[in-house]
């Protein structure tokens, strides 16, 4: 993987947001064994930092902090994003300020 500089912990910011997580029903699904280069693009562009590499370099994605911007769909909708739907009724992020 090419160099990515990350010192910030975005999860602590996401904790400030209001969410109604649709447990067990992800609105974004990746293909099995996503391509490394494509995945690393999403590490960089996702404003919620949902695409991560863990210590042993394994790829990790969690939809629950999604800001529903759609950037991953536009960039990788034809490659490693298998499904991108809006969360179900009253689910997902609720911006109070926006």
């Amino acid at each position: 993987m090419s160099e990515i500089n990350i010192s910030v912990n975005v999860d602590s910011y996401l904790a400030k947001n209001k969410y109604e997580v649709d447990e067990g029903n992800p609105h974004i699904v990746l293909v099995e064994d996503p391509d490394d280069a494509e995945f690393d693009k999403l590490i960089r562009v996702c404003p919620a930092a949902l695409y991560k590499r863990r210590d042993n370099n394994t790829k990790f994605f969690d939809y629950s902090g999604c800001l529903e911007c759609g950037t991953c769909r536009i960039l990788c909708g034809d490659t490693i994003i298998k499904k991108w739907e809006n969360p179900g009724p009253n689910m997902g992020v609720e911006f109070r300020f926006g």
Binding site: N5, S7, V8, Y13, R44, V45, I74, N86, F97
Partner: protein
Amino acid sequence: MDFDFDAIVVGAGCAGSVAAYELANANKSVLLIERGENAGSKNMTGGRIYSHSLKKVFPNFEKEAPLERRITHERISLMASDSNFSIDFTSDAMREEGKDSYSVLRGPFDQWLASKAEDAGAECLFGIPVESLVKDESGRIIGVRAGEDEITAHVVILCDGVNSLLTEEAVGYKKPPASQIAVGIKQTFMLPSQVITDRILAASDEEGAAWMIAGDATKGKFGGGFMYTNKESISLGIVAGIEGVAKSEYPIYQMMEDLKNHPSIAPLVKDAEIVEHSGHMVPEGGINIMPRLVGDGVMLAGESAMMCINFGYAVRGMDYAIAAGQAAGLAASAAIDAEDTSQTGLEKYVTLLEESFVLKDMREFSKAPAFMEGFDRMFGEYPEMVRDIMNEMFIVDGSPAKHVKAMAIPAVKKVGLLNILKDVKGAMKAL
């Protein structure tokens, strides 16, 4: 065939609520359907709204809309990692009714706008995502599908934003190319009203600033930082082309973190509490990536139609969305009266937009996206050139004083005079 409504509007943002308001005012039965639990709860802006088009719909909006501050300071910066050069412009003309602009937060603002549609008689349905469109045998759009329900209408107006999942079914527009889309990230910082006023040097708690920052904000990539003062909060963030970010050493959230810790920004948000972290896409491609605006039984308005222009020194979208929503509402209602909501019957909407600033601006600035995208020096070399010149001017250490020309020439030579002339010429042509 009997339809449930005259019109269905998908999405209660700037375009959608105004379209529904106009239809309801024309005594049409209209359903405004929004996937957020409230209007605005899926929306995000930098952001500031220019008042002119809103005033055409609501002449007294200043008295009733939840506006944050009137923008009376325009600040533009060229930022290097170790410097920042700013211009701060203010003028009395910024306070002129109808020519002014206001910072807004889409949560409260969109709820107000949707309430105007509801008060005018539109039926509102919140918390329901439209999953697909209903078509008749001929392929004409006749309604929307949400869960088990099908709701039908003479015309469906898609105002469901830049990430619309419905434009493909409606007009065959799958999604915009990644090269023409930017990603926006924003944090909202709470601060006492008076502290914000003082930090930005505003005249009162009713006035505030807009700030665009080119250069190190995006680590040299196409895009920029932005800041808007609200009543009791500051919106600070970054918008950057997604293809550039995808190749950057710095993820978008790290750019955000470094921007707010930059010595020229940090004092502004010092001791402030972060209350929200948001993200949204910005369509940068303008008319070059605009989908077809009408089809049989369907119209597109606002960001679902990519109605946004990045002028470099300002980004506009909401004023276009409001004008387009109004035109869509008026044209749809005329088409319903004429009992022809086919593509031909709805074509009047496009005519209205062609006659208004919406499509005139889009056409006039069709070359802006390509220019901005290739304007790499603005995000890297120019902020550093300006830093070097300014350091020469303002750092005094007792070594022999130089004339201004001698101070500027080495920094200019580093970038190349021809490159600068080329960029000036390009900017004049595109912007």
